[in-house]
């Protein structure tokens, strides 16, 4: 296996233009002879499928929800970045590129990031033309805000529902193609394996989630846009169905998995309230603009917050990071919260929470102003917790949120398997070790609307796939494998539910491969995970039959893949002997507890090759060079 990024030559500003010219084109009259399978209908998948359809390809698109409009992208709140420089505040393609490389803690590929920044402006044009109702100024022009600590205002938004509006835009473009017959949509259809013929990705095996029917689909190229894997932690801000199955199945078939340990923990989520908890709700980061974070000074102090005099409170972010204070970056804020809770100073019933207190802001600005700024968030908080944040400080705690790691792709967004392309959160390409706020939506749509429609033609024009049908032995073998696995899951007849295993796995991962990691903990996890997996395959109870709508069955398959994948994640975290972005190794920190990168030994993408069950994965390295953004250390003091 070779990790050849295929980065075009020439100066960074000209690479994409030059590359588009160099790519072979598919003759317009030949396009309809090519079929493309798009798995996923989130921002990345829907935009790609619609754009392929418009170009004249024959497209089959799949999602596991009952409608493409419900993909997890729908839940994104804050906004989408683009280098429009409408605010005249010094933004540019280069600055967005620079901020993204630096924010990613120098673990992303410069050429891809530059292209992302370059096409960002086109995304906004496209979405506005679709009728996306972005926020506007009184003069009628688009409004921007600054997001996630950026020094310029480049974030476009639609109330607190930016992801929803962007996805509905892409969905409407997709539905238009469906009505025109260029895209066939298969909702409630889950991809369970990849079909490779003569070294090329040629199809997928799916399960119809209503009837349970196992069916293969074939095409000339396969595009995965199946989202992130933060649900490996069981509790996360992601939707319940988010999973690693498609990516992991591709990995088993030869796609390198890049930097699986790079995960983002978001500092402001509503804490866990009990064992029954199924998800953690994100509270917008903007709350930290006015809220002050604190815990009691001494451990075990259970007095109600109002009874704690100022002197007995520890405003730990303000104390430790006097210049950034409560606005310290996501990873710092998250880790600090964990530390104080580990010290036994956490608040709330479970002791895993910290206060986010608006009392001072209300004194200073009045309740009215705070209501105007955060009214809907306060309402959401009260709906979930039953507590009124105007009177009681909010309780927050970090939660798993986003995964920067993903399948390795080259500049054309093709994985190490010929013909298998990967878009959106499912690939690893643009965010390095840490993603900036409002950049995931940008990347998903950049990949789907503007990158893959170009690069796929380069592949299709040169791939010469041989004609095949579903009687091909490789197809039959993949189908048999899928059917066999389902049968096995249903026949175990053990005593424990699928959810109980998922919860246990989540605990292991959160404890040992979460906000802070160390070698001993990771080794413990690497021992516990195989034990849990063994128990799963011997004692899981999946009721019902395969040939029916069976949600436990669906979940069992996903949890089984998480159980395999978790080991890869810990292996990657253990091998990366440095701290960078969301990956914090306790052994590698400065005296003041800041992340210590090791550029000399680790300025590379770790691409892991699958080598068979029970065998250790093989590490391949794609060296990273920084010719345009000089390597530097982040500082927040």
């Amino acid at each position: 296996m070779q990790l050849d990024a295929k980065i075009p030559s020439g100066p960074i500003e000209q690479k994409w233009t030059k590359h588009k010219f160099d790519l072979k084109l598919v003759n317009p009259s030949n396009k309809r002879k090519h079929s493309i399978l798009v798995v996923g209908s989130g921002l990345a998948g829907a935009s790609a499928a619609a754009s392929f359809g418009e170009l004249g390809y024959q497209v089959d698109c799949f999602c596991f929800q009952d409608s493409p409009r419900r993909a997890h992208s729908i839940a994104a709140q804050g906004g989408i970045n683009a280098a429009k420089n409408y605010q005249n505040d010094g933004d540019s393609i280069f600055r967005l590129f620079y901020d993204t490389v630096k924010g990613g803690d120098f673990r992303s590929r410069e050429a891809n990031v530059y292209r992302l920044a370059e096409v960002s402006a086109n995304i906004i044009d496209q979405c506005v033309a679709q009728g996306v109702p972005f926020a506007r100024e009184y003069g009628g022009l688009l409004s921007n805000r600054s997001f996630g600590g950026a020094q310029v205002s480049r974030t476009f938004y639609a109330r607190g529902q930016t992801g929803q509006q962007l996805l509905l835009g892409a969905y409407s473009a997709l539905e238009r193609q469906i009505s025109m017959g260029s895209v066939r949509m298969f909702p409630r259809t889950e991809m369970l394996d990849l079909i490779i013929i003569e070294g090329q990705a040629r199809g997928i095996v799916t399960r119809n989630l209503i009837s349970g029917e196992i069916r293969s689909f074939l095409g000339d190229a396969v595009v995965l846009a199946t989202g992130g894997y933060a649900n490996v932690f069981h509790l996360s801000t992601n939707a319940q169905g988010c999973n690693v199955t498609a990516s992991y199945r591709a990995h088993r078939n030869g796609a390198a998995f890049a930097n699986p340990c790079y995960t983002q923990i978001h500092p402001t989520c509503i804490p866990v309230s009990g064992d029954y908890q199924s998800k953690l709700t994100l509270m917008s980061e903007s709350l930290r603009n006015d809220g002050r974070v604190w815990v009691p000074r001494v451990q075990g102090d259970r007095r109600p917050p109002a009874n704690l005099p100022q002197a007995e409170r520890d405003y730990y972010l303000e104390r430790k990071y006097p210049s950034f204070g409560n606005l310290a970056p996501r990873d710092i804020a998250s880790r600090s919260a964990k530390e104080v809770c580990d010290e036994g100073r956490g608040v709330g019933e479970t002791g895993r929470g910290v206060y986010l207190d608006f009392a001072d802001a209300i004194d200073r600005l009045g309740e009215h102003t705070i209501r105007e700024r955060y009214g809907n968030l306060f309402e959401m908080y009260e709906r979930i917790t039953g507590e009124n944040p105007y009177h009681l400080p909010m309780r927050i705690y970090p939660a798993a949120h986003y995964t920067m790691g993903g399948l390795w792709v080259d500049y054309n967004l093709m994985s190490t398997i010929d013909g298998l392309h990967v878009l959106g959160e499912a690939n690893f390409s643009d965010h390095g070790a840490n993603r900036l706020g409002a950049s995931a939506l940008m990347q998903g749509l950049a990949d789907g609307y503007f990158v893959i429609p170009n690069t796929i033609s380069g592949y299709l024009a040169t791939a010469h796939p041989t004609p095949i049908d579903t009687s091909h032995p490789a197809v039959r073998a993949a189908e048999a494998g899928v059917a066999e696995r389902i049968k096995r899951l249903l026949s175990i007849g053990g005593s424990r539910s699928v959810d109980s295993f998922h919860r246990d796995l989540g605990r292991i991962m959160w404890e040992h491969c979460g906000m802070a990691r160390n070698a001993a903990g990771l080794r413990t996890a690497l021992q516990l995970i195989p034990e849990l997996r063994e128990e799963f395959w011997n004692d899981v109870r999946v009721l019902g039959v395969g040939e029916s709508f069976n949600q436990s069955m669906e979940k069992a398959g996903r949890v089984a893949d998480f159980l395999d994948f978790a080991e890869l994640m810990c292996t990657d975290a253990l091998h990366r002997e440095e701290s960078c972005g969301g990956h914090f190794r306790e052994e590698h920190q400065t005296e003041d507890g800041e992340a210590k990168r090791n550029d000399h030994d680790f300025a590379y993408v770790a691409g892991w090759e699958y080598r068979g069950e029970g065998k250790a994965p093989l590490l391949h390295k794609e060296p990273l060079t920084f010719d345009n953004v000089p390597l530097a250390t982040r500082s927040y003091k």
């Binding site: 419900r70 009728g131 969905y171 473009a173 319940q240 009721l543």
Partner: protein
């Protein structure tokens, strides 16, 4: 809390279903309604009984997947709250709670509380878009839109496509859903070129799917978790009338 649940159980679309009663105990008031169902399902699995099927994904009120009629009200008793955001503290110890799927001819039951809402996708496919292919868009700020207009378009665009409006309507009408899209795209300048065609095609599709007509009950708005205004239906009617008249004139010409 201890509760009695009466849950609609139906193995698949081809057979009829029935209510089954489940006594449940030790429910924590901080649970969401769906977490309560998770707990009930864990209990069923422990007793080797098939868990209750229900649709859900985001569990934060935005994906539109959850679709439970709770005590006769789609998404339950709380204003502007989806079932996934409804918490058990709004119920009292000892309550009996009746849980059914969203019922409508155009939403056939898939299993238990899960229904098929593909008819909504087909209504959008019939015209709920602006026909602009990737790459052909003009510069975004070339066309200013008054803030008030953009805000109202957003009010309509917030629809999550859950189908509560249909389930709440005595006629199982999809006018609020369809109207929301017609209103959103009818307000912004980008939607004008196809405005007439859009409304005619979407309404045709709506009728073909077997949704009922609107007789102004207004239950849809009451049930809508995003509080889509009834103005959406008025706009749909207005646009439809205008479009039908002008297309008849074109036919005559």
């Amino acid at each position: 809390m201890n509760l009695t649940l009466r849950v609609w159980r139906q193995e698949h679309a081809q057979i009829s279903g029935a209510f089954v009663t489940y006594p449940v105990s030790d429910i924590n008031p901080d649970m969401s309604f769906l977490e309560m169902l998770d707990v009930v399902n864990e209990g069923l699995i422990a007793r080797q009984e098939t868990p209750i099927a229900f649709d859900h994904d985001c569990r934060e009120g935005i994906c539109g997947a959850c679709s439970l009629t709770i005590n006769g009200i789609p998404h339950g008793p709380n204003r502007a709250t989806t079932a996934c955001q409804l918490h058990m503290r709004f119920f009292a110890d000892g309550d009996t709670i009746v849980i059914e799927p969203f019922r409508a001819k155009a939403f056939p039951v898939v299993r238990d509380l899960v229904v098929d809402r593909a008819s909504f996708d087909r209504i959008i496919a019939a015209g709920g878009y602006v026909g602009v292919s990737t790459g052909s868009a003009p510069e975004a700020n070339a066309l200013p839109i008054a803030k008030a207009i953009a805000d109202r378009a957003m009010d309509a665009a917030q629809c999550i496509g859950c189908g509560a409006c249909v389930a709440a309507c005595p006629n199982a009408s999809a006018m609020l859903f369809t109207g929301a899209k017609v209103m959103h795209l009818g307000l912004v300048p980008q939607g004008q070129a196809e405005r007439s065609d859009r409304v005619l095609r979407m309404v045709d599709q709506m009728d073909a799917e077997g949704f009922g007509g609107c007789t102004n009950y207004g239950e849809c708005h009451e049930a809508c978790p995003k509080e889509i205004p009834l103005e959406a239906i008025a706009r749909l009617n207005g646009d439809y009338l205008r479009a039908a008249l002008s297309s008849r004139e074109e036919d005559a010409a």
